[in-house]
Symmetry: none
Subunit: 342 residues, 4 copies
């Protein structure tokens, strides 16, 4: 067991709480393979050695397998429980047919968390997220009551939202106020240089009102912001896969004029990265870290080297100047405007 | 273990919650006999195979035996807990003389639920009902506090009422508001084509204010709406039993002019059923399902064939036209009027 | 100006308040004629001289004229404001076509009270009643907020309900609790020996929960309980009027077997009255006064002698024994049962 | 003075209140000219004679002049106050430079309403709207407290919002809940066949949660939906004005390919109108009236004939079939989708 040493990691409060998370963290959403426990353990160890203290998963990831792997890895690593922060997310169930096997009903939430904790071999998670809003008719009171009870039961310390609209998050706060319940403290949103409106504009009042926290997913726009598609969709890369219909559909979006215009921007960003002396991915992570409303960026990888590369974005973030940021903004030319949103 | 498959079942939210129940469900109120486990298991399996996910019982049914049978059957079937929804009801105890052995005192409620859970071999029920209002002096605050605690203790996910007046249900909501407690979400009322006033008129504001759910019992008016007494009370039928004083009292009510007028209506309903191509019972269940304030109808039987007959009412419901419903209403000629109620 | 002297009047608190009202009081619902100011003034003076301190009217009575008459009479009598208690009732407007000219919207309530106060030439009424529930879609929150504001504005001291169901009164209390508003304190219900269910059974929990007050109207069942129709509907009596279709419709109800059975009971009651040495009307008012949930009975008359007769019921009430009451109950044979109600 | 007669007008509750407004109403936003009192009086009289009972203005309209005209016209017409419903809107002040002369500060709201009431010569308006959200830093608590006080002071019966985001409206409800204040009951939004997203998608949860009311402005997209620009921007029409830079900017938007595509749709709508036997404007108003979340449509005109034309849309609305609506939807091809919004 390696004793935890934060080294030169930067920690940020996860929203308006006292919980400190490393600004770069590890998300386990990737597919689980045969040697996934071994690989995950390597990734955890590297991240840990660089000061990462926050690890995120979800019940749906590989239908519970990701949580099981996390549980086994954490057990074998033997880290002190207070040294790390772990979150999981409930909503999707395992995609089964049972009508109560998914969603945000009290039934799925209470049953789902108990199942997740078993797989994780933990008494509690630090943060439990609602992986999506439930728009099929579940009243918000039921949702907020269930998460409050999880916290009161000691099965979670905080609760958060994922991919909820600002309206829905505000409504959850309203209901918490109304019934004296516990409000969510953070959102897990998609956010990248190419996906900014919701994070920067729609959520703006949430930062002002509640200091709402954020745990970012897809910070590199599915890989496009790494620059690896600057010269086309080469075989061997994810979007270069000619066999998967899903991948082909995504690739087609990048092949439209709008998609190509974005990739042209990535080529410009790569030039800045070259000048700064980092990878394009690192530049893009550093750019997001400059936003103080980012609590932490979830970076996920099943390769140790990539974990290292991602974590080194911290150094880039520290040396990135305001002029660099302005130059990136000029290339992106997509800064959201709250006033324009409504 | 059969994996749950909802097939073409229709699910409805149980009131203003995220809990989905099959619109036809299984109620275990019948008497328990020697082979009741075997019979109940058969009924459960047939219902399950048709998409039923909701099963209801009560502490009083055969003085706890019904819960015990349910518990054994559920254990032997090995269904996944999240796939089914189970409720029980507290109030009557076992008819014992002990002054605290029944009613809605905190003492009976807390003790009663623990006993029910033991018999059911479960950690929690999905819904716990107050089987009757307690009008002997138990303050509503005590009742609502006890049910709230059951939910907070994880022994139930929701609570409901059974045979409460609309006033009492509203008073429970008032007390929940006043003390920040959890309000009931559904009522288990008697409701049939011959017993409509309370369900359709008295409860009307509850649907408007709270989207209050309902789990219907006695949907066939004790069998009269099956048409089996259309030609008199034949020996071998329940009401044909000449030995039981209770049965004789009930039969006498059907032999009054008012009772006979109702049976004349059933004969007309049977004609419609013949035309539609279903049994009178199926027609009557389908007629109730047309009411959107019905969350689920509890159908109870100890014979597998009858379970099948009841569940096939779903098909009848789906083909019943507005004109059919109008014709049924014209025969019944008893549509309740909220304005006339008060 | 006559100084007020309560003499031997009995005062009762109007529900759970500190407001004391004479148990017999004066209601001005009768039609207004040319000399109505003169007649009303006579009635007021007689009532006053016997200790009556409570006077009730409504905006709808003769489309505002009744309030105007009350206002003029009160002004000319010059009574001290603190000596008398006055109430009016809002709901019906003047029957005009304007969609906001009636009902319990904030608009009609606020505008209606201001108009009533002008007609009454008063700064405030003691009690303002909602003359009916508004079941056309006005939310209870709006109703309770408006009455609360009237009280906060000093335009009324208390508010009450009239012909509301127990459910609606409980819902008003719920809303008052929920929003920290002022709940109603009394109901103005129809109540007589022939109209008991609502008052004695449906409202029962309101007395237990809130010590809800009552100001009774139609205590003599439209005159039938005076015994004046014991021998038929003679010309010159109200129900003897052959010209009015409305009267004829009411008379027909008394001519049914059920109606005749009631009149047969009145004949028996008249025998008791004879024995006790009072009129049948006085006996019936005395019988109602025996019910401690009656705060006051509104007796209305445009003839001075009748006012005297009604007020003398107080003496009958004081000498009526429990055995007399039992005898009356035996004749009536209609004591409501709360359990039977639901 | 003409007595008010609703005739065959359709009234709708303004949100979750008891206030009934005619579904077509009169908005006074147009510019005020020399004979504006005469013209406005004519328009009021015609509208009134057709059953319109709701009239809307704002402090900014002609810098207070519109309110002054409304006040004079109402005074000269002498209508009964309870027969009509009047609203005004605060936010913009008169465009003055004083930092406190506009916005939603308590200072501007309290001062602004008093000034508006003076101009209107009224003791109270029925509804007071916040003409815009104040995003410059005014806390919502201050805004909701100020509107609550207006209502408690008797200067307004209800308050509403105009052009607020669903988030802001939900936040106002949250604050009202938190501090026991009065929440807004209706929004005055732009809504037309070409401007649907906010009304139909963004606001959707507000209808579900609060039955939020709406008073529509710009129902004809600035005139384009009347069909008068189907053949170009002719001299003499509003958008044909070559002298105004503002008008030219608006016209240019309609001259883009997207703008022209919309006008092509209007040409198709005009064909339907011809077939139905009404003007394109009437068809478009009728189409909006089909949406049950529309409480009332503000139609504004300074020409009596146009008022008549607009109000005759009620007849078109009554005969418009579901098939007609489907056809209109097919042409518009812009039905908003809540799921796509977020």
């Amino acid at each position: 067991m390696t004793e935890y040493d934060p080294k030169d990691m930067e920690f940020r409060f996860l929203g308006n709480t006292g919980l400190r998370v490393s600004c770069l963290s590890y998300g386990g959403w990737l597919t689980v393979s045969e040697d996934s426990e071994k690989v995950t353990k390597e990734c955890f160890e590297i991240a840990w050695s660089r000061g990462v203290n926050f690890f995120d998963t979800a019940e749906i990831y590989s239908n519970g397998e990701c949580e099981t792997v996390f549980g086994n890895v954490l057990k074998s690593l033997g880290w002190k429980r207070s040294d790390y922060v772990i979150s999981t997310k409930l909503y999707f169930g395992f995609g089964e047919k049972s009508p109560n096997g998914r969603g945000l009903s009290r039934k799925h939430l209470m049953e789902g968390l108990d199942q997740s904790l078993k797989r994780l071999q933990l008494d509690y998670v630090d943060v439990i997220f609602a992986h999506r809003p439930d728009r099929e008719g579940v009243p918000m009171e039921e949702v907020v009551r269930a998460f409050t009870q999880m916290i009161n039961d000691g099965k979670a310390l905080y609760w958060g939202t994922s991919e909820w609209s600002a309206f829905e998050i505000e409504h959850a706060h309203h209901i918490a106020t109304k019934f004296g319940l516990i409000a969510p403290i953070a959102e897990q949103p998609q956010y990248s240089a190419f996906h900014r409106n919701r994070f920067e504009a729609e959520y703006k009042p949430l930062y002002d009102l509640y200091k709402y926290g954020t745990t970012i997913w897809s910070p590199l726009a599915g890989g496009v912001l790494t620059g690896k598609y600057n010269d086309g969709f080469a075989p061997g890369t994810r979007l270069g896969d000619q066999s998967s219909p899903v991948v082909q559909r995504i690739r087609k979006q990048w092949e439209t004029p709008e998609g190509q215009a974005k990739i042209a921007k990535v080529r410009e960003l790569t030039k800045i990265a070259d000048r700064v002396g980092c990878t394009t991915a690192q530049l893009m992570l550093a750019f997001l870290l400059k936003n103080k409303n980012v609590s932490t960026i979830l970076t996920g990888s099943s390769r140790a080297e990539q974990v290292v590369e991602n974590l080194d974005a911290l150094k880039v973030y520290r040396k990135l100047t305001d002029a660099d940021v302005d130059e990136i903004e000029a290339i992106l030319d997509n800064k959201p405007d709250y006033a324009a949103l409504y």
